[in-house]
């Protein structure tokens, strides 16, 4: 790579090639990988990576089930993800308890990820709670120096936006002006229902009802501009401490999930394929001075790496029956109780 640029093309391309290889491998090995339902980010990669590469350990993020590129982008390995795909006991997110790309993470060197459910949109309120917590800690002087400027990102599909709870999260963000970024990945599909069936307009239009949330439309297929735009927004949020919503316009290229397959009902696959972010990033890399050879090599390496990681994940142990009963309830601290009940003149009402 020769030309100078502030855009991390190399990193992005390597990650995107990795994500693509993973999706291909899951399809190839579907007899094994489809035992447990999963979705991949194919089509959404640029959007997710553009976000991930701006996040810092002081941030919190709530990825959803389609966010495997986002997880790679914050530093998880393919094997980490595959351990969850295969519900292995060493799955770093849940020990085999929940699905692929349903992360939770509390690592010092990565953005924090609270528990993520499968219920569409239900992460919005908890994540708004994170943003409210960040704001509260700053305002009350409870935040450490390292925490300052952190943001909370709620990643979400376009169709999950119609859940009533979303409006509660947006109301509070607008009212309290806490640093919440609603990161809407708009692929125009709600499983088999399309945009026209379930939406009166899009997320940016919807955000107009929430005075005080700035809403921005971003082409999620174009890594370079998405990275730049998100960079500006996040910088503003770190400084001005206020909420944003972005709508990432993206195509859905893979199945809804391994269990609900695109060939059953999609009528726009050709059109969607034209918006594949992968060749777009490739072209941007070339333009930025990466050689064809380099790109080929990175692709090959990604494929090999993914295959090796898969084999390694496959060989890992499964949970044992006894693992059902761990981590049910966090042990409370041992509190010494004063046995004496101090009588007062007046009894308590």
């Amino acid at each position: 790579m020769s030309k100078k640029t502030t855009i991390p093309f190399e990193k992005a391309f390597k990650l995107m090639a990795t994500a693509k290889s993973m999706a291909e491998l899951y399809e190839r090995e579907k007899d094994t990988t489809s035992k447990y339902v999963h979705a991949t980010s194919r089509g959404h990669e640029s959007a997710q990576l553009a976000l991930a590469l701006h996040l810092e350990p002081k941030d919190y993020v709530a990825p959803y089930y389609r966010d495997d590129s986002l997880l790679l982008g914050i530093g998880m390995t393919p094997k980490d993800l595959m351990l969850q795909l295969l519900a292995k006991v060493d799955d770093p997110f849940s020990g085999g308890r929940t699905y692929y790309s349903h992360p939770s993470l509390n690592d010092a060197d990565k953005p924090k990820i609270p528990h993520q459910s499968s219920a569409t949109g239900m992460q919005a309120i908890p994540t708004a709670g994170v943003a409210m917590g960040i704001q509260y800690r700053e305002q009350q002087g409870l935040a450490s120096k390292e925490e300052l400027g952190g943001i909370a990102v709620c990643s979400i599909g376009d169709s999950a936006m119609t859940e009533g709870e979303i409006s509660e999260a947006l109301h509070m963000a607008a009212l309290k002006q806490f640093p919440l970024l609603m990161f809407v990945q708009d692929n125009g599909w709600d499983i088999s229902a399309n945009r026209a069936e379930v939406h009166h307009s899009n997320a940016v239009e919807y955000a107009k009802g929430f005075t005080g949330i700035e809403a921005v439309d971003i082409d999620g297929t174009d890594f370079e501009s998405a990275y730049t735009e998100l960079g500006k927004i996040i910088k503003t949020m770190r400084k001005e401490r206020r909420p944003f919503l972005v709508r990432m316009d993206v195509p859905l290229l893979n199945h809804h999930t391994s269990g609900v397959r695109k060939e059953w009902y999609r009528d726009d696959l050709e059109e969607a394929a034209k918006r594949d972010p992968y060749p777009i990033l490739k072209a941007q890399c070339l333009k930025a001075g990466v050689s064809e050879k380099e790109l080929d090599q990175w692709e090959t390496e990604a494929g090999q790496f993914v295959q090796a990681q898969y084999e390694s994940a496959l060989s890992m142990p499964d949970p044992q029956p006894a693992d059902l009963l761990t981590m049910i309830s966090h042990p409370p601290p041992l509190l010494k109780s004063a046995a004496n009940v101090r009588p007062k003149v007046l009894n308590l009402r």
Binding site: Y60, D91, F93, S94, G95, R97, T98, H102, S104, L105, N106, K112, P114, H115, S117, A119, M122, Q123, I125, P126, T127, A128, G129, V130, A131, M132, G133, I134, Y136, R137, Q139, Q140, L142, G164, E165, E168, A169, H171, M172, L175, T326, M327, I328, S329, H330, P331, P332, P333, L335, K336, S337, A338, N340, V341, R342, P343, K344, N347, L348, R349
Partner: protein, 335 residues
């Protein structure tokens, strides 16, 4: 009882800057529709004690995020009836965070829920909902019946890393209902805590009655404690009353021990009787104490109708009371 909660929260907020409280009308202007948050905003400021919009889902679900950042929110929904809009967050997010993150993200919060019927509160301000809530695994649930218990359990709840729902019976807040004066207890000291899962013996039958097989135990909680106490007066020395105090976990050991001691058990609840949490307790006792029972385990709850009617006559007809408990005890002892 209302002061007990207040004093506990005051002590906790004074000691822990990470503690805050929010909910509807808990702010300075009113301090809670039951005055259950009175003076807190004045004492700790409008940033630490604040009103939320009418958004129960947000009130419940935001605790997941607040707790993740290291804060300890007390939150409140105004009436148990209005926990329903927040029930999805309670089930989907709050209760499962710890187990499904394999221990990484316990949700540490105390959810205050005023509950119960109190003088013609009517269908949307009186509902008992403990069956639905106890069916959600992964949360702890307290249901104290006295000021001291409320204070001790509030403390315990605060220090517990898991999410806790505290049901606070509105009819016991001020002990204005005749027979509930016992809910006013001396104030326990600041370090008084009551662990979850430990029942309280309210009154104990005399040994002689137990020996002669003429005793019974009432297993109950909340307002049931007072109905049972009043009813027990008709059977001096014959009745023990066990107050569960916490419903999740509930004190199996104490319940089974009492059931075996007396061989006659009445499970008493304010909720509709069937299906119910109380009826589940009945099932558990009947299974475990089969060989010790001198009579079928009895269950007394409210009449099973879709809602508590407003009119006093209808409300009283529906709900248990001391007379109904006395009748149940009489037939239990006569069995």
């Amino acid at each position: 009882m209302v002061d007990a909660a207040l004093f506990a929260i005051k002590e906790l907020m004074a000691a822990h800057p990470e503690a805050l409280l929010y909910g509807q009308d808990v702010g300075g202007r009113l301090g809670g529709v039951f005055r259950e948050a009175a003076t807190l905003a004045q004492k700790f400021g409008d940033e630490r004690v604040f009103n939320t919009p009418i958004q129960e889902a947000f009130i419940i679900g935001s605790t997941v995020g607040m707790s993740a950042t290291g804060l300890k929110p007390f939150v409140e929904v105004q009436f148990a009836d209005y926990l329903w809009p927040g029930m999805n967050q309670l089930f989907t997010e709050v209760s499962r965070s710890y187990y499904l993150s394999n221990g990484k993200w316990p949700v540490s919060t105390v959810i205050r829920v005023p509950i119960g019927a109190y003088g013609s509160g009517g269908p949307f301000h009186s509902s008992s909902i403990e069956t639905a809530v106890t069916s959600i695994r992964g949360i702890k649930i307290a249901y104290p019946s006295t000021g001291a218990d409320l204070k001790g359990l509030m403390k315990s709840a605060f220090y517990d890393p898991n999410p806790v729902v505290i049901f606070e019976h509105k009819g016991l807040y001020w002990s204005k209902i005749p027979g509930t004066e016992g809910a006013k207890t001396p104030e326990p000291s600041a370090d008084y805590v009551i662990p979850f899962g430990k029942a309280r013996m309210v009154i104990e039958a005399e040994a002689s009655a137990v020996t002669s097989g003429e005793s019974a135990v009432v297993v109950t909680y909340g307002m049931g404690v007072y109905w049972a106490q009043k009813a027990a007066k008709a059977f001096p020395g014959q009745i023990s009353i066990l107050d569960l105090r916490t419903l999740a976990p509930w004190d199996r050991a104490a319940v089974m021990a009492e059931a075996k001691t007396h061989g006659r058990v009445l499970v008493l609840t304010e909720e509709c009787s069937s299906p119910s949490f109380a009826q589940s307790v009945q099932g558990a006792i009947a299974e475990e104490c089969f060989e010790f029972l001198d009579a079928p385990v009895q269950l007394l709850g409210a009449v099973n109708v879709p809602a508590i009617p407003l009119n006093t006559t209808l409300e009283q007809t529906m709900l248990p009371n001391a007379e109904k408990v006395e009748g149940a005890l009489r037939s239990l002892l006569a069995y």
